[in-house]
Amino acid sequence: MNLFHIAWRNLQHRWLASWLTLLSMALGVALVVLVLAISGLIQETFRRNSNVGYNLVVGPKGSPLQLTLSSVFYLSKPVGTLPYRYYLEYLPKPAREQAYRQLGGSPEEGARNGSYGMFVGNGFALPICLGDYVGPFRIVATTVDYLGQLRHGPDNDRTFEFAQGRNFQEDSQEHGFFEAVVGSIVAKEMNFKLGDVIYPSHGPDGESHGDGFTIVGILEPTGTPTDRVALINIEGFYLLEGHVAPERDEETGLEKATKPAGDLQARQADQQVDPPANSKAGRKRLPLDQREVSAILLKTAGFVGIGLQQQINKSSRAQAVSPIGEIAGLLETFFQPAQWALLALTVLVCLVSAISILVSIYNSMHERTRDIAVMRALGAGRNTVLLVILAEALLISVGGGLLGWTIGHAIAAAASPVVEARTGIRVGFWSMNSVAEPFIIPGLVVIGILAGLLPALMAYRTDVSRSLAS
């Protein structure tokens, strides 16, 4: 027999009080584990979603956080718009030439590399247009490269896979510019299937545009915001009613007309410029000058991102933000204080449990004075009985803690299928917060020792002669 065996037998003898105390500690630790798991999940979700293959988001001047939320997470309203010509400044010469040829701009202007093209290099620049909805879900108008270039997953190396169908084409034989791909949650919630036609509206409850986009692909779940959007061809988007940009003054960038600046859908087309190229389905592309983008997703070449970001931010036209940096700031400002508050509450629960350990053992000491005296009479030293009582407190605190840890992780693991479907993050039984969880057991040891110290000192000071004589 060792001291822990003796302590264990003592606890068994008072099994009800011991179990209730142990359960209160288990509850406290399970709460700590769950708070850590949930907060870790939220941070990981934001981290992964803010890093799906691009390192900068370029948008109009305004709130960097709003630009990140609207362009990366598809939350919040878009900051505003940028001219399509500005987007073309991020493209190399061949792409610009093709764009100017297709969209009717000056060929000389297209015959050069974009001002920021050298920063992009082997990376990419993806335009996105926001503002429309299908049901409660956002529509993201973009190019076919969106699904081709972006990546997701823990290591940011997984391509977007199709559960059904294919990527939309820029100009398909069958549907022209009007093809769409929907994310997994959109498809599930809206009950979409291949061949269905979605009609973008101006808002969740707004009026639908006349033209519809045929769903040609449904994505596998990725755990990214893409699960909750419908991707449509940007060429089709521009042809929707109300998506023509107002004419702007070349020097000031201000609208010449009196219409208010803002979302694309707020404006009405009143002209078309020739010569736009015809689609296979017979529709003409919207001319260059009437196009705008909500944001540009940029993957820069090598390590030039910071330099490019500074250069863009110095300009008066646009801003560039690093989504990871913005989200880190957001988490630090809003999320971490809440996380610490929650953790403090759960640690408080553990401390209350520690006090209940103290009370439980302390109360038992009066009826165990004779047992302790007998142990002393059998040869146990003062330190030995002190250690036995400390071992009892440790068994309750650490045992309760391990039980709580197991319960917490079991709950997290049980919720894993739901969590994975919603966030793409798999939470296994052994998924741990590597920063905080290693401190749980040492913390419980300290709590156990503190809780057991007072009753242990009572045992230490037991008057053997008097207790045996009583």
Partner: protein, 224 residues
């Protein structure tokens, strides 16, 4: 094996003074001897056992146990001597309620460093007739069985001296003789000396020698 010389022990009284409990010029228990100590209640018998076992320290004098003077030892050292050289049987058995009979016997071994002989514990329980009750808790045993566990526990560490503090006081006549027989037999077999405190002249007569506390303790002189 046990030799006491000029032992004195006092306790504070409520008035702030000291009341002398023990004043024993000389007292001995020989190797393997079975000695009965008879005396009236409150005469200091239990205090004497506590001093011999090292639970209580004498104010002065010499308490030599197996060549070791307990009065010169620290409390921790006395604990170690008690664990290895003394067996203790209490009047009320004092088995720990949360432990089985076997665990109660092994408990004493735990406190004597290095002695964790499970076979010895089982052998002792077999010797006291509890081979079939080893894993019973005290509340599942009869009074006689509990006292037998207490005897086995006292002998677990192969002590040199067994102290028995009125071990038959709480049992009926039938059990009384059974316990005396058991103590005498196991002490003889284990070659352990025994100092048995009792009120019973009948029990005392069965020992090798009988001492009356009134005759060895000067504080009781003249007290009838």
């Amino acid at each position: 094996m046990l030799r006491i010389k000029n032992l004195r022990k006092s306790y504070p009284d409520p008035s702030g003074g000291l009341v002398e409990i023990l004043d024993i010029p000389h007292f001995e228990v020989a190797e393997g001897e079975q000695l009965a100590l008879v005396g009236r209640s409150g005469g200091g018998k239990t205090t004497l056992l506590h001093i011999i076992s090292g639970i209580t320290k004498a104010d002065s004098g010499l308490v030599m146990l197996d060549g070791i003077d307990l009065t010169r030892l620290s409390e921790a050292a006395r604990d170690r001597v008690r664990a290895s050289k003394i067996g203790y049987v209490f009047q009320t058995f004092n088995l720990l309620p949360g432990f089985t009979a076997l665990e109660n016997v092994r408990l004493g071994m735990t406190f004597a460093q290095g002695r964790r002989d499970l076979g010895r514990a089982k052998e002792l329980l077999e010797r006291v007739g509890l081979a079939q009750r080893m894993h019973y808790k005290p509340n599942q045993l009869s009074v006689g069985q509990q006292q037998r566990v207490a005897v086995a526990r006292a002998l677990a560490n192969r002590p040199r001296l067994l102290l028995a503090d009125e071990p038959t006081a709480n049992v009926d006549a039938a059990h009384q003789q059974m316990i005396v027989d058991l103590l005498r037999e196991v002490c003889r077999l284990e070659k352990v000396g025994m100092l048995l405190v009792t009120h019973s002249q009948e029990v005392a007569r069965q020992m090798d020698r009988v001492e009356h506390l009134e005759q060895i303790n000067r504080t009781l002189e003249g007290v009838s």
